[in-house]
């Protein structure tokens, strides 16, 4: 374990890193924000049409500076739950829509993968039979699933959920079956000696013993689900933080895209932290 002093040093160091990042961002964007262009500037009407007037201020041709970013992000963040119409909802709604999809799709994946993994872990023949299928389906990108899903499911909302399901199910399944298959034989022998029924054997021995690997699989699966939903929403649209990124990209509003990217990162981190805590609770020393 790290000492308190070391921990503090780590925090200070990451603060310094954040400041360096912020300053280099400021330096790189401010220095070229007033770029002269090689078009003759005599024509006033032309300048107005190009947006070069006092009234309409300099349009953001370049990457926004931290100050511009903060101003625009504040515009978005001060009303996160505004709801003008289905095509114009606040970023809070969008984040909620994405989390909702992830909860459904990922929940289904856990419900399918954990029991199946427990079964495969105890049945080596079945595991060998299914392994080639799993290995082929596992590396497929969420975006590659999208056209097939759209064509067969015929509902954009369910497609998003399906894509999360299909991407997060494999790590959970593989980790669960791996954890179960790796159980120490002596423990199962003890269960046999005590003549435990299958339910008690599952509950008292198999599940607690393989819990650390199962939770690791669930943690990896959730990370993948969060990656997949953003990509899927950028393609399918209608709502969600991925849709927000696309919609702001459509407007070429880089500030709002950065804001969304930051929020995606922070949400991902929070999700991962909860699983890290769960992982610590179920881990044990042999």
């Amino acid at each position: 374990m790290m000492s308190r002093a070391d921990h503090l040093k780590g925090v200070v160091l990451s603060l310094i890193l954040a400041l360096i990042l912020l300053f280099s961002w400021q330096y790189l964007t401010e220095s070229n924000s007033i770029q002269s262009h090689d078009i003759s500037a005599e024509n006033r009407e032309y300048e107005i049409l190009m947006g070069h007037t006092q009234a309409t201020q300099q349009p953001d041709h370049n990457f926004p500076s931290p100050r511009q970013f903060a101003l625009e992000a504040w515009q978005e963040l001060k009303a996160p739950f505004h709801n003008t119409s289905t095509n114009d909802r606040g970023i809070g709604w969008q984040l909620g829509a994405s989390l909702y999809r992830v909860i459904i799709g990922y929940g289904l994946a856990v419900l399918v993968a954990v029991p199946l993994g427990l079964l495969l872990g105890q049945q080596p023949i079945l595991r060998a039979a299914l392994n080639p299928f799993i290995q082929i389906l596992r590396p497929i990108s969420p975006l590659a699933w999208m056209p097939i899903a759209l064509y067969t499911i015929k509902n954009a909302e369910e497609c998003g959920i399906f894509v999360i399901f299909i991407c997060s199910v494999w790590p959970i399944l593989l980790n669960t079956s791996f954890g179960v298959s790796r159980l120490r034989k002596e423990w199962l022998d003890v269960a046999k000696t005590l003549e435990l029924g299958w339910a008690r054997r599952l509950w008292l021995i198999i599940l607690p013993a393989s819990a650390p690997t199962i939770v690791t699989g669930m943690r990896v699966g959730l990370g993948i689900a969060w990656l997949a939903i953003i990509a899927a929403e950028m393609l399918v649209g209608s709502s969600g933080i991925g849709y927000f990124v696309w919609n702001q990209w459509n407007n070429l509003s880089i500030s709002n895209v950065i804001l969304a990217v930051l929020l995606i990162g922070i949400t991902g981190m929070i999700l991962d932290t909860t699983f890290a805590a769960l992982q610590r609770r179920v881990s044990y020393a042999e």
């Binding site: 947006g51 003008t84 095509n87 114009d88 015929k154 393609l235 649209g237 209608s238 459509n250």
Partner: protein, 381 residues
């Protein structure tokens, strides 16, 4: 289908749009759109309350791409949708898949697109010098693709071998132009003007200068939906015709630009949208230009323009030569219904339609006379 429509529309002539002659079968509709200026009539029909006047509530669904629009229309997630005008023809003819009868309920807009080139090509204006360049188009079954191909071919380039055409979503066209991944694009507004204002591209030519009067986007429904909801179809058609009349009037364009710029519609700066709609614009090379034909609006889906699209899709191998173009076009473009509804509405702002269903036009100065275009099976009554 024709008989149900006839029954549904027979009473139209004596009705005003405020009183709904027949109850609509489906009151709440989901209509998809892609956030580009071509969707102006659809958005006006919503924002100006024309749908409401017909007793229907519309939820407009902003959609990121044309493939998704197509899938959502075909699987029934959308009751109607903004489509690129070659899409209902290609879908009904079964280009690349099983035929799926889709109908063009009205056209939305005329002209309004442009070829934008990167600023580094400002001295390279002759298309004969464009060998090896890369251009972005929004979709294969689009007027953008067909017109860019026709333009390049007119100058002796083979669009399949001499240049690279890349299907790209419009906002990415601007980003790719900046990054230098593409040399230019034939895209929808507001993205041509956006490239100008961002000082990365210039307007090489407007599509109004290639073919003045070409249709671009349509409003589509599946034949199935129309057959099951004939009164809803008629109501949507009326609202779209009124919206076309609103957009046609030049005095309304500034208000339209304001509405379109809202976050729930195009989510784009009003300054950019306005220039595309009014034809008073900066060309990216330091000139202020005025072209009243830059963007126009008309609901009439004339058959001759459809025959041109079919011919071009056959020319580039999207649709087999054996397909009877005129037959498909006359089934897909619901011109007689649009004419009937427009006559009944008698809108002062709507330009009177052409006398013929096959008006002649010129593409790059070459006359196209579709009325003499051969039909292998003859025209269905």
């Amino acid at each position: 289908m024709a008989s149900t429509l006839g029954a549904a529309l027979s009473g139209i002539a004596t009705q005003s749009h405020a009183a709904v002659p027949y109850p609509v079968e489906k009151k709440a509709l989901k209509i998809g759109f892609v956030p580009i200026s071509c969707a102006a009539p659809l958005i006006m029909a919503q924002a100006k309350g024309y749908f409401q006047d017909e007793g229907i509530t519309v939820e407009l669904r902003k959609t990121p791409g044309w493939a998704l629009i197509r899938d959502n229309l075909l699987n029934g997630s959308f009751d109607a949708s903004h489509l690129l005008s070659p899409m209902p023809l290609a879908l009904s003819a079964g280009a690349g898949h099983t035929p799926h009868p889709v109908r063009a309920v009205t056209m939305q807009n005329i002209n309004g697109q442009a070829i934008t080139l990167a600023l580094k090509h400002r001295e390279r204006r002759d298309p004969r010098d464009w060998k090896g360049m890369t251009f972005a188009i929004p979709f294969e079954f689009s007027m953008h693709n067909l017109m860019l191909r026709a333009y390049l071919a007119h100058y002796g380039l083979d669009p399949d071998h001499d240049v690279t055409l890349r299907v790209t979503a419009p906002p990415e066209m601007v980003a790719n132009l900046r990054a230098g991944n593409i040399d230019g694009f034939l895209g929808p507004e507001p993205f041509n003007q956006r490239a100008v204002i961002n000082e990365i591209g210039f307007l090489h030519i407007l599509t109004a200068e290639i073919w003045d009067g070409h249709p671009c986007c349509a409003l589509g429904m599946t034949e199935e939906f129309i057959a099951e909801n004939p009164n809803t179809y008629a109501a949507v058609q009326r609202a779209m015709i009124r919206a076309a009349a609103f957009m046609h009037k030049m005095e309304n364009r500034l208000e339209a630009a304001q509405i379109l710029s809202k976050p729930e519609y195009l989510n784009h700066s009003e300054l950019v949208i306005r220039q595309g709609l009014t034809g008073h614009y900066a060309d990216g090379l330091g000139n202020v230009k005025n072209n009243l034909h830059r963007a126009e609006f008309s609901p009439f889906p004339y058959y001759s323009s459809g025959v041109w699209m079919m011919e071009q899709m056959q020319r580039w191998g999207y649709i087999p030569r054996s397909v009877d173009s005129r037959n498909i076009v006359e089934q897909v473009f619901l011109l007689p219904d649009v004419r009937r509804q427009a006559t009944a509405l008698a809108l002062a702002d709507l330009p009177s339609p052409e006398n013929t269903n096959y008006p002649d036009f010129q593409v790059l100065g070459v006359p196209f006379t579709a009325s003499t275009y051969p039909s292998t099976q003859g025209t269905k009554p």
